[in-house]
């Protein structure tokens, strides 16, 4: 490739790369979608048999694919590969332009390859996703404030539940590895950028491209199937289902691309002397998360392609009448779905493990056990998927083995607890919002973990499955543990990412509001689950009234807490105190670069001679 690079293209005036940005992308995407929609409408033959939606499904899917291709072309994703095929690879100047050399605000709206820009882009899109998902959650909780529900139509309600579910899952998947995995990780390992900077930009813009089909779906019937989109229900769902399918397919590509990129970066680009024993634990967490996504998301992609074919092309992967099986979908879905839980959880816990030594001023306890715990969870998590199918009747004889693998996960999970409490023990507690988040995580994750043991038990699951108890349980793990870690990471790395300190007072207020509201909400949800309220219902028997009211009150408290946090982010970013280079006096490499961080992070690449946890005084 170097020989190709020696032939720079002399571009008179503005080159095409400089002209492309989010505006051209949206325009090209919309135009392509419209053109393809008109053409499909014109030329697609009418259905021969009476089968619901088939022709409309084809039209919708084709238009969405056209949007996707148009958008990605318009943002400039194809310029690099195209030029390479033509034998005229990008010149040095063009590469520097893509990296965001001008440092202007426009680079956030272009196909910029600098990992720091991508990190900020991820941070913003994560906040947008949580904002929308949160509004949907508030709609759900408001509707469930009274037993009759009633003011939201069941069809709309089901769609709100499904959309809330899927975008929160996506939001939590990217909430740590997106912003911090992209912005902080390369600096933390002493690299100038990611291994594949263009893939980095690609993974972010794919998420933006994926968002539109999901929004589109809301106007053509919604996603009335819950986030799991089980077949055959998804097969008879309205056209909005195609939006879900496209969303998942594009998001899966993004996750695979990001996974390959981050894994390669960590394996290949750590600083001189950063052996595996000296690699910070957050790096392990990030790598485990994205590496787990590598086997999981192709399966998710495939499951949705098959779903689309069943809808639009009359195949019968999942359709029992044609010889298919809904169990096939369930298997594919959960082969992705369970590892995905740990894709979310591991980096959040690892981020708190990274902060624990900093805020206790002592070394991380049992680094090796932490690594083993992360590896153990990752390994086991691909072997447990059918615990979501205990009562599906698919294979009763497999219940016992899946109960075994599931309960085995408690051992490596316990290791993470050991590392955290071991690090807290006899530390010098420096009280900050991230410090308290460690305690909050231990509390929430303990509840999420123990309730997980009941659910892993087949007989108990026969009662609990599909009830609000399950909903409360996974909110305890994904939100109580995952989001708590992510919010702590935000406050912790905010000074490096924005150059300003996060407003202390606001971080405390939001912490307590969110944590108290969260526990009120989901303890209440446990009670109605135990009393027999199924999940995903828009009305319920009046016996469940009290518990639901408590949950709704808790949910509103969380909302206020998150709004305070949002205010904190915006006000601190605009006018917070200027951050010193190393406000927490931590020892990882990201704190050795100045604010603002230069384009390629390090003038001289660092050499690492010890691990990053050398706190504490030696006994004489």
């Amino acid at each position: 490739m170097t020989t190709l690079m020696s032939k720079p293209v002399s571009a008179p005036g503005k080159s095409v790369i400089e002209r492309l940005n989010i505006v051209t992308a949206v325009v090209l995407g919309a135009v392509s979608a419209f053109v393809v929609w008109r053409l499909a409408l014109q030329f697609l033959p009418a259905d021969t048999e009476v089968r619901l939606f088939t022709r409309e499904d084809k039209i919708t899917l084709l238009s969405m694919v056209a949007w996707f291709i148009g958008f990605m072309t318009g943002i400039g994703a194809l310029v690099g590969p195209f030029r390479w095929v033509m034998g005229k690879d990008l010149s040095h100047d063009e590469n520097m332009f893509l990296a965001g050399k001008d440092m202007g605000v426009n680079r956030y709206f272009r196909y910029t390859t600098d990992h720091k820009v991508v990190g900020i882009q991820y941070l913003v899109i994560t906040m947008v996703i949580f904002g929308i998902g949160g509004i949907l959650a508030m709609l759900i909780r408001t509707n469930l404030g009274t037993p009759e529900g009633g003011w939201i139509h069941p069809q709309a309600y089901n769609s709100i539940v499904g959309t809330h579910g899927i975008i929160m899952i996506v939001g939590t998947i990217i909430m740590v590895t997106g912003p911090f995995g992209n912005f902080i990780m390369p600096i933390m390992i002493g690299a100038r950028d990611m291994a594949f900077p263009r893939l980095n930009a690609l993974s972010f813009w794919l998420i933006v491209a994926a968002a539109i089909p999901l929004i589109w779906a809301q106007f053509i019937g919604g996603i009335s199937t819950g986030w799991s989109a089980y077949n055959p229900l998804a097969g008879q769902a309205p056209l909005g289902m195609n939006g879900y399918i496209m969303f998942i397919c594009i998001f899966a590509i993004s996750t695979m691309v990001a996974g390959a990129n981050i894994t390669t970066t960590i394996v290949r680009m750590r600083a001189n002397g950063m052996t595996w024993n000296r690699t910070p634990i957050f790096i392990y967490g990030t790598m485990a998360s994205v590496a787990l996504a590598l086997p999981a998301f192709p399966v998710f992609f495939l499951s949705q392609v098959m779903s689309a074919m069943d809808r639009a092309l009359d195949t019968s992967f999942y359709n029992t009448a044609g010889g298919g099986s809904g169990w096939l979908y369930e298997n594919l879905f959960w082969i992705m779905g369970h590892p995905e839980v740990y894709v979310i959880l591991i980096p959040a816990v690892a981020a708190l493990m990274e902060m624990a030594p900093v805020f206790t001023r002592r070394p991380l306890f049992s680094f090796n056990v932490a690594v083993m715990g992360i590896a153990g969870i990752s390994g086991l998590s691909v072997l447990v998927w059918a615990h979501h199918m205990y009562i599906s009747g698919w294979a009763p004889l497999l219940n016992a083995p899946f109960m075994l693998t599931t309960e085995l996960i408690s051992i490596p999970t316990g290791m993470l607890f050991l590392v955290l409490v071991g690090t807290l023990w006899r530390g010098r507690l420096w009280m900050t919002m991230p410090t308290m988040s460690i305690f909050a995580l231990l509390w929430n994750f303990m509840i999420g973990g123990i309730t997980g043991i009941y659910l892993s038990d087949v007989p108990a699951d026969a009662f609990l499955h599909g009830s609000m108890y399950v909903t409360a349980h996974f909110h305890y793990t994904l939100m109580g543990a995952g989001l708590t870690g992510a919010l702590a990471a935000l406050v912790y790395w905010f000074p490096k990412m924005t150059g300003r300190m996060f407003d202390k007072k606001l971080s405390w207020i939001s912490f307590w509001l969110v944590q108290i509201g969260f526990n009120v909400a989901f303890i209440g949800m446990f009670t109605v689950g135990l009393a027999g309220q199924p999940r995903r219902v828009e009305s319920y028997a009046s016996t469940f009234n009290t518990g639901n009211l408590i949950t709704t009150i808790g949910a509103y408290t969380i909302m206020v807490g998150m709004l305070v946090l949002l205010h904190g982010v915006i006000s601190s970013w605009r006018s917070g105190d200027k951050a010193p280079m190393n406000p927490w006096q931590a020892k990882t490499l990201e704190w050795t670069v100045p604010n603002p961080i230069p384009l390629e992070n390090f003038d001289v690449l660092p050499t690492v001679t010890s691990d990053a946890y050398g706190y504490g005084k030696a006994k004489s």
């Binding site: 306890f365 316990g414 050991l418 509390w443």
Partner: protein, 256 residues
Amino acid sequence: MTDLMNSKKPQWWKSPDVKKTAILWVICTAIVGYVGTEFHVRSIVEPASETMTGVIDLMRIFTWAASPVAGLVFAICLTVLTSKRHYGDNPPAEADHQISNSPRANAVWIVVSALLCLFALITGLIVLQKDSEAVLESTAIQMNVTGSQWVWSFDYPNGARSEDLYLPVDKPVVFHITSVDVKHSFWIVQMGIKMDANPGAITEAAVTPNKIGVFDIRCAELCGLLHAYMQTKVHVVSQNDYDKWVAEHAALEGRA
């Protein structure tokens, strides 16, 4: 876990923070165990079958088994939180040790969690075995259950058919469950059994109701528009009442 501290000193357990943690551990374990079980037992439905009683017992056992671990984690948290805390913009002095590992603590922790895991597994397997054998009970009433959007219907051995379920008390029942459209999940709440109704397949679940009364049947799998309303009642009655009821309803079907 208490040997996390440096064991150079011969009597590490005499250190005040270790003692404090030990006392807190006992207290926290008791609180977690008691509050945890009470929370579950009080919130959960009144059992109407042996199976459901088993589920409640399992929760009690698991909560108590997990409580020492949770108790220890919370005890350490409390000890740390009640020791000297530092507020301010600059970090406190560094801790006066550099302990970064304790093979003994690791080993104890891992062995204990492995044992607890094994315990949970064995307890679960014993109950599971009992539940699975129930399906093979030859004297049981064989009942066909069909889910469709959004009603349950029940076919009795003698040809009777209904949309709310009648069962005799203290007699084993085996349900053969299927669906005509999408996936549903057949849940008799107070009896602690649940099994998916799949189109194109028949699944089995078994239970012996042991209480006369009216209990809830709900659909536990999102099945479309009116999923929330896909519920009915099960009437558990005496054998005599049951016989009378099915005879009447079989006659009704025969009329058609």
